[in-house]
Every structure is written in C-alpha cells, then in structure tokens.
C-alpha cells in the first residue's frame, strides 16, 4: 500500500459504454452469486431426480391403480415427466427471476450498477436478455433431459415419443414457459424492488389467484380464468387442446408473453423514472 497515485495504464477510450458492456457485466453478475448456482441445481434435481422418483413409484404401483387412473395417465403421458416437474420448477424460477433485480436493491448494488452505467434502460435490457437466455437454455436442456429420462422409466405402461402429436411442441414449450415465467417474475422484482414482496406476489398469482379465478361464475369467469397469465402459459405443456380450452397452446403462450411484455414495460417506465 505504498503506491498512492493511480498507474495510468488504461487503453485510450474507444466508443461508448453500451449494451455490449452491460451484457457482459450482467452475465458476470448472475454467474458469480451462489443463489444462481443453487437455483439451477434445484431445478435439475426437481426435473430429473424428483421426476424419476415419482415416475418410478408410479410404475411400481401401476397394478394397484384403478382403470380410470390408468386411462388418465395414459391419455396425458407428459403429466409425470413434464407437467409436474415444471409446476415445481416454476417456483424456483420465480424466486430467481425476482432476485435478479430485487437483490440489486436489497444489497445496495444498484448504486454501483447505475454509477457505472446510468442509462437505465440499457441496464434493464441487459438484465432481461441475460436472464432470458439463461432460463431458455437451462429450461430446454432440462425439459428434454426430463423427457428422455422419464420416457425410459414409464415406457412399460405409458409409451410416449417425440413423434406423437403435440409432444415435441410440449417439450420445447416447457422450456419456453419457464423462460417467460422468469421474465414475468423479473418484472415484479423491478416494479416492487423488494424480494419478499415480489416473491409473495408472483407465487400468490401462480398458486392461488390463478386457481381462484376458476371459481368465478360461468361464462365470463371462464374467460378470466383462461386469460390468467400462468393458466394461459401452461397450455403449451399439453400435447392436446382440451375440449373446453378457450385458447390453443400457442395462443396461451402468446397471452402469457403479452402479460409479461406489459409488466416489463411498466417496470421499464418505473425503473427509468424512480430515484435509485
């Protein structure tokens, strides 16, 4: 600590600090906190480990199932290998998505971030892009891995293959759903800036509100329920459109994405306007 003066060994300034630098910075930030690693490990554990266990237990008890249960499982071959793991995984994705931005506020990091890059929309765009790509890659890898592992385990009683109608779309859709959900949660994190509050809100929407709307009176209640963000989004996981579904799988994902874009727009306006 004898040197006091700053050695001026920086290369000459070239161009502006822009989205490229922001993307590299956000990637460094997301990969260097343990919560990211643990979340990804948890997602892998749920999609492969827990799923395999449940699939194996189901096969083990197959003989004791009622014919109705057997028929139900055979008609929805992706229920065990895809739908259930995604339903649990989404809780992890929601927490991670919220924390990508709320942790900046709870730790005070946001002040360092914005001193280095005060163009706030650049920061938000970089965060969204980095997290979306991470969730998409991880989501697709895990959903294909879960499908192939699960398929082997349930093959004896519930045969399923990528060639079956709607199956490939459902497996790809699972990864897409998780990526969109990640951004949906990130938007809440940016709007509320409070980890616990944002997680509670997102989980409340996913687990409670989306079910409560199913209890609303017929006709219009049915519509509201169908257009709830995750209700619509989850349609992409079903190989076949059920007779009473108002939306097709892709329409459902579009509705969920629409909600997400809307929330991100609100988040962007607030992120730009508010004092940090």
């Amino acid at each position: 600590m004898t040197t006091l003066t700053v050695p001026a060994t920086l290369p000459p300034v070239q161009g502006k600090a822009g989205i490229g630098g922001a993307l590299r910075a956000e990637w460094t930030k997301i990969r260097t906190v343990r919560s990211t690693l643990w979340s990804l490990v948890a997602m892998a554990g749920i999609s492969i480990g827990l799923m395999s266990l449940i699939a194996w237990a189901t096969m083990h008890r197959w003989a004791r199932f009622e014919p109705r249960e057997k028929a139900n499982l055979t008609q929805h071959p992706l229920e065990i290998v895809l739908a259930r793991p995604v339903f649990v995984c989404q809780l992890v994705v929601a927490v991670l998505g919220v924390m990508v931005i709320s942790a900046e506020y709870t730790t005070g990091m946001i002040r360092s971030t914005l001193q280095a890059q005060p163009r706030r929309l650049t920061i938000l765009a970089a965060k969204i892009a980095v997290f979306a790509v991470l969730m998409l890659v991880v989501g697709e890898l895990l959903s294909f891995a879960a499908f192939f592992v699960g398929k082997q385990i349930i093959a004896g009683h519930i045969p399923v293959s990528l060639g079956d109608a709607g199956v490939t779309r459902s497996v790809i859709g699972a990864g897409l759903y998780l990526a969109v959900l990640g951004l949906f949660s990130l938007a809440f994190g940016a709007i509320l800036r409070h980890t616990a509050g944002a997680i509670t809100t997102v989980l409340g929407l996913i687990l409670i509100v989306s079910n409560l709307t199913g209890l609303l009176p017929d006709s219009w209640g049915h519509h509201i329920n169908a257009w709830m963000p995750t209700n619509a989004g989850l349609l992409i996981l079903q190989p076949h459109q059920a007779p009473d579904d108002l939306l097709s799988p892709w329409q459902g994902l579009a509705v969920f994405s629409g909600w997400t874009v809307l929330l991100l727009a609100v988040a962007a306006v607030l992120f730009k306007k508010r004092d940090a």
């Binding site: 003066t5 900046e104 890059q117």
Partner: protein, 310 residues
Amino acid sequence: MIEAVGLTKRYGDRLAVDHLTFTVKPGQVTGFLGPNGAGKSTTMRMILGLDAPSSGTVTVNGRPFVELDNPLREVGALLDAKAIHGGRSAYHHLLALAQSNNLPRRRVDQVLELVGLTEVARKRAKGFSLGMGQRLGIAAALLGDPKILIFDEPVNGLDPEGILWIRNLMKALAAEGRTVFVSSHLMSEMENTADHLLVIGRGRMIADCTVQEFIDANSELAVRVRTPEPTRLAELVTGAGGRAVPDGEGTLLVTELATDRIGDLAFDNGVRLHELSPLQASLEQAFMELTRDSVEYHAAVPAAGQEDRA
C-alpha cells in the same frame, strides 16, 4: 469540474436540498461539510444521476452524468461501502463494473493492489469489515482512472491507518490535477485535507470559501489575561479600542486587541501580568457555531455542553 445551479430536492414538503449553486474545481480537494441530514448525500446522489433533482441542474465536465459516454472513466464515486452484493467476491464485483465500461480485466487487479485487497479479492464481500468495504468502494471509484472523484464520508469506520491512507490518497489525487469532492460531518477531518470548503446546513449553502478564509472568518481571537489589577487593565484595554470581559477572579477575556498590544499596554502602564494567553476557537467550534441553527436534530443537552462535543 462539477457545477450545480439552483440544485433542489424536495421530499414531500421537506426541502432536502435547497437551491444549491456551486462549482467544484479540479486540482484541489473540496470538502463538503454539514451536520448529519444537511443534504450532502442527496446532493451527491443527484450529481451521479441516482436521484433526479426537483429543480435546478448539475453537470460533470459540462454534461449531466447520465449523458456521459463512459461514466467510470470520467467520475469515480464512493457513496457508501454497502453498494455491493455481499455474495459476490471483491474481484467479481469490480470485474462486472469494469466490463460495463469496457475496461480491461487487468485493471481490476491493479485497483485491488492499489487499495490493498489483493489477498482477499476472491473472498465474498459479506465477510468484509467496514474498512475493507470502504477500500473496495474506493477501488471501484478508481477503476476508470477518472478525472473526478466523489467520496461520501470516506473515513467512516476506518482505523487511524486507514484514515491517514485516505487523506493522503485524496491529496495525491488532487495533486495530479483531479477534481476531488469529499463530504464529511466532521470539521476536524476537513481541516487537514481540504483546500476549499462548501458548508451546508438544512440543504442551504452556508459558506463557500477556502479553508483559510473559513478560519479567518469564523475563529474569533480572544486573549486571556490574568492580573492582580483587572479593573485598571480593563480600562486601558477599552481605551486602546479593545473589549475586556471579566472571566472569573482576576481574569479578563480580551477581544479585538492583539496579544502583543495587550502586553505592551500593561508594561507601559506598570500593570503586572500573571498570564497572557491567546485563545483560538477551533474550527470544530466555528463549524458548530455556524451550523447550530441548521442542525436537523438536536440532542437535548444544555447549550454549555456543546463545547465538549468537538
């Protein structure tokens, strides 16, 4: 160069910063002084674009901070030692900041070396002491080799060695021609470091002057004189244009007359003196005197007790 014109921040009906106009020049350390809650941090946050002014403007190098092309290359700031994610290592914290401004990776190692954190660079920042946190914040401020440096209460929580290190660092940075703007609520801290002072209280500018001007204007000289003939000396002092106030048995406090003159006056008139000692109000007292009316929260102590609080 930092320039503020009519800078104002209003929270509800409370004015945190009230029409501040000032210039912070390069090549010197400018102390930003005021009691807690005077609006120093809010002002700094507005300089850095973290808070938007309610009215008025502030620019760095002639441009609003948010319009700078490469912010870290122009302004380095330490606002508080906690502007970090505790789960990340010092190295990765700095790396992310460096990447955002396209600074080379080796620069991270350089600043870590410079602040003496190389050995703990790979440790998570949540285990850092307050002093280490301050050093990390300073490392971040120096990353882009900026011409303007802003430090908010940089010596808070530092040990004496760290305080000395920061003082010398600030002086060295200013000597290199950089603009150094540093806040403190302690006059004693600025006395040895700053060349220029901006003093604020309740968001308003109270003084904008050099340290010497501040001393001259605010530390009134008084001379304590002990003599067996106080009444006679008091008359002589008054006759010579000074003011003498009794200060206990056989003692006078003389103002508006220099020590030498009082001594000569007594000698010429055969008045015996037992003590002749100049008293200088400390800068700390002068500062407290100046900002007394603008302190946001007073402790409920008698006024006399304030003299001891320096």
